[in-house]
Symmetry: C2
């Protein structure tokens, strides 16, 4: 079971990777067979190559993440609320909650992002 501190560190590494426009740093947080459902309900990106490609494209929007409130952890799960700013549209704000499920090694095996059209402002 990953510790609270390991899961919190992974979330901060995720946010920092966006700050540094470093998709490889995000991909390194995931297990090789992980799935990313962003937003939840859309087709999942499965496996390292698909996940790296997805975050490479995501970061081309210049997305920067700001955590909103404490990171919640329970067992091998974490959830965190954040807002997203976009480089190409400085009035834009997207409010998102992500959930991470971790494996025994502290790698993320499932990521799901909760946001929709009603969570986008100033686009």
């Amino acid at each position: 079971m990953p510790t609270h501190e390991q899961m919190v560190a992974a979330v901060h590494a995720y946010v920092n990777a966006f700050a540094n426009s470093d998709p490889a740093a995000v991909a390194a947080l995931f297990a090789p067979d992980a799935s990313v459902e962003d937003p939840i309900g859309s087709p999942a990106h499965i496996g390292h190559d698909a996940i790296l490609a997805f975050y490479t494209a995501s970061m081309q929007t210049g997305a920067k993440l700001t955590l909103e409130g404490p990171i919640r952890t329970a067992g091998n799960h974490a959830a965190f609320a954040f807002s997203v700013a976009l480089a190409f549209k400085d009035t834009a704000r997207i409010d998102v909650i992500d959930t991470f499920r971790f494996n025994e090694d502290g790698k993320v095996v499932e990521m799901r992002a909760y946001f929709g059209p009603n969570n986008m402002q100033g686009m």
Copy 2:
């Protein structure tokens, strides 16, 4: 598919039910065969009777919920961040994120709560 407005209304009804110490009002938000995993990773409360019993016990702590930031919705899912105050210990604060999955009728079929010991303060 429930609308954003239906899902937001369900979340507000959930928060208001705690404000009113009304477990039946919470139970009415759930489908008859729904599951409640609170916190995520613990054994689920499944079905109306188990869910009503769970919320009846929960509300005996005097728990009151304050939403923190906007309710996120995507497809038939919602996620929301909140803090919990407890009547018997006025210094206590628990930070939680809940996720709801809805059915076609706008009833909650799966609830999962993300929080752990590190999300409790002043207990």
